[in-house]
């Protein structure tokens, strides 16, 4: 571990595969930028691989001040130990105060290996990161400007805020799609710092024999948010709106049987008794009347928003929030509001304290 280093940078592990940056790396740059501004320090991104220098400019445009570039022919394909070796070396050298990774299969494989070697804390699958002063309830010591690592736990039934007082760096993996992807600023200036890390043969215990990549499939089961459309959407053309909202919220597209039977969308999207049963953190039902077969497949969702013109539609009986109105107007408003949430969770918290107004 390293000690408390309040001048340390905020670091992002820049996940890439085959020379393409993972979106989550760019999302994390944006959030790291906000955290670093709050702490008055710089954002560093660690980019490891082979022939990946070009990617550094995108990281800078998305908020990095420095890109620590480690290029090595044998880092061409990811494997755990050499990548962990690189990160541990650089963390030891530069003593960042925060290091964040995407909670991707790769990030969740890599980050714990690093945490173990550094004997530092790590929080998995965060959905929000903030900075605040924290008082240790035992010693009453006030720890200034700690990273609040906020995550769902216990099967999504609780939200836990985790902190790490002094066994730094403070490290977390962050779910894909929960931090808004900020628009890049191509004029941003940054520095590329080439780093040497000595890698030995024993750092590469795995030999890749064969590799197969598949295009992304519909993943309703694993989606944290699902935007589903029903017969009320009206047409295949209009169903595009559901795809747009799902894109804006970073979720998967679901459908009722009526929408599938109407040919608006493929059967692999169907939610309900004859389709997939889902329990995401958020389910947005658009123009779905809510037949019992549909409700049985989604009513366990943690939060349900129903949008329907018919106040009497049964979908409202399982909803937590209901919007009675024309979805052709409501959905574009949601997309717009989602695109405006660029300041992130911490800033939103201050303005939303007033709660719902009485009107």
């Amino acid at each position: 571990m390293i000690g408390v280093n309040r001048n340390g940078e905020v670091w992002v592990f820049a996940e890439q595969e085959d020379g393409a940056l993972h979106d989550v790396a760019l999302e994390l740059c944006g959030r790291a930028r906000q955290l670093a501004d709050r702490l008055g320090v710089k954002v560093g991104a660690v980019l490891a691989g082979w022939n990946v220098r070009e990617l550094a400019y995108r990281l800078i445009a998305h908020g990095a001040d420095k890109v620590y570039l480690v290029e090595h022919r044998k880092l061409d394909h990811y494997q755990t130990q050499p990548y962990a070796r690189v990160m541990c070396e650089l963390i030891g050298r530069h003593q960042p105060q925060i290091v964040i990774y995407g909670a991707t299969p790769l990030g969740r494989d890599l980050a714990p290996r690093i945490a173990s070697e550094m004997k530092a804390g790590l929080t998995a699958d965060c959905t929000a990161l903030e900075v605040a002063d924290v008082t240790d309830p035992k010693t009453k010591t006030v720890h200034r400007n700690l990273l609040l690592q906020i995550r769902p736990a216990f099967g999504g039934n609780i939200i836990a805020t985790i902190v790490n007082y002094d066994r730094w760096p403070q490290m977390a993996t962050v779910r894909e799609g929960v931090m808004p992807l900020l628009d890049p600023d191509p004029r941003r200036q940054g520095e590329i710092v080439a780093e040497e890390v000595g890698l030995r043969d024993e750092d590469f215990p795995l030999r890749l024999i064969e590799r197969h990549r598949e295009p992304r499939k519909v993943n309703l089961k694993g989606a944290r948010t699902i935007v589903a459309g029903g017969g009320g959407v009206g047409s295949k053309q209009n169903f595009q709106m559901i795809h747009e909202l799902a894109g804006a919220v970073g979720g998967a597209v679901g459908a009722s049987r009526a929408a599938v039977d109407g040919g608006f969308v493929g059967k692999e999207h169907q939610v309900g008794q004859t389709g997939t049963t889902v329990r995401p953190a958020l389910y947005i039902a658009c123009g779905i009347s809510g037949a019992i077969q549909h409700r049985a497949g989604m009513e366990e969702s943690a939060k349900i928003i129903a949008i329907n013109w018919d106040r009497e539609a049964p979908i409202f009986s399982v909803a937590h929030y209901g919007l009675v109105g024309d979805l052709n107007e409501v959905i574009p408003r949601m997309v717009k509001a989602l695109k405006e949430r660029q300041t992130g969770a911490a800033d939103a918290a201050e303005t939303a304290d007033a709660g719902w107004s009485a009107d």
Partner: protein
């Protein structure tokens, strides 16, 4: 050639079927009110180890760290075919985060001694962190292969393993010993064998025996309870029904790396989000209404 495996399993609260009663007023979880289950991924880890043994020979040893009640999952392992089970239990291990847990487990794995594989489930459903496997691998100085779906081939001290990496799969080759984390898509899990259930259902760890004696004789003196528990253990031992039990001293763990002191992460705050829903909140379908809804969802972390 035969291969020896160690499998790490966990007994977990059944978080998939949680209700409002399981939450305390302060928002924390009342674990006692929840039924416990064998962590699903760990069942698959056990299955993969059993298949390796069935095909190539060798042994399967299971370790579970937890309170004495975790004896339940260890008996489950015996019913399904494990050769040896070990309960790792110690009050001083309470409040361990993933780093401290992996340190303790790695000490126990070392004490078992010889092995070719350490198998763990990918993650446990109470925390969903997927950290303990990789951290154990680092502590043991082993290579790690995460997200295993199939042991494709074993030849001498080399394994070919297929792992699912989310957007596809990889076939990797690694020298043994290795630590492997297993996905619940790794094929069907065998049921308990009736013959083994009949044989092992009376298997108990020493601390389970002491709890049983205390329950039956709540007013007895402590030394009498302990004597009676030992007497029962002697009766079971002849039939091979005393399950191994280790504490932190037995595995030579350094206490500074265990429990609270060994855990860099601290829980600062916990909020319950089990909803007790009575009707829904109507949101005006206006621009302002929609914007406020989105903000509320951001504040309560439904949206990031």
């Amino acid at each position: 050639m035969p291969y020896d495996s160690i499998v790490c399993v966990k007994q977990v609260p059944d978080t998939a079927n949680i209700t409002g009663e399981a939450m305390k007023a302060d928002g924390t979880v009342n674990r006692a009110a929840l039924p416990t289950v064998f962590n699903p991924d760990d069942l698959h880890a056990l299955e993969v180890a059993l298949r390796v043994r069935d095909q190539y020979g060798g042994t399967v040893t299971v370790i579970s760290m937890g309170p004495p009640k975790a004896g339940d999952v260890l008996r489950e392992c015996l019913f399904r075919g494990a050769d040896r089970v070990i309960l790792l239990t110690d009050r001083r291990a309470a409040a361990s985060d993933t780093l401290a847990t992996s340190y303790i487990l790695s000490c126990a794995v070392r004490k078992v001694g010889r092995y070719d594989f350490v198998f763990c489930g990918r993650q446990a459903i109470d925390g969903d962190t997927a950290q303990v496997g990789p951290q154990c691998a680092e502590k043991l100085g082993l290579p790690q292969v995460t997200y295993l779906e199939e042991v494709v081939e074993l030849r001498d001290q080399t394994a070919r393993l297929r792992r699912n990496v989310g957007n596809g799969w990889e076939l990797v080759e690694v020298r043994l010993p290795v630590l492997v984390t297993v996905l619940d898509t790794a094929g069907l899990v065998r049921p308990a064998a009736a013959r083994r259930v009949a044989r092992f259902k009376r298997g108990r760890t020493p601390s389970e025996l002491l709890i049983e004696v205390s329950r039956e004789n709540p007013d007895a003196r402590d030394e009498d309870k302990e004597r009676e528990a030992l007497r029962r253990a002697e009766g079971l031992r002849a039939r091979g029904l005393v399950l191994d039990e280790w504490n932190l001293d037995d595995i030579g763990a350094d206490l500074q790396w265990c429990g609270l002191s060994g855990s860099p992460t601290k829980v600062h705050r916990v909020q319950s989000i089990v909803l007790t829903k009575q009707g829904y909140t109507e949101i005006p379908a206006t621009e302002a209404g929609v914007r406020q809804l989105i903000q509320e969802l951001i504040v309560d972390h439904t949206l990031g």
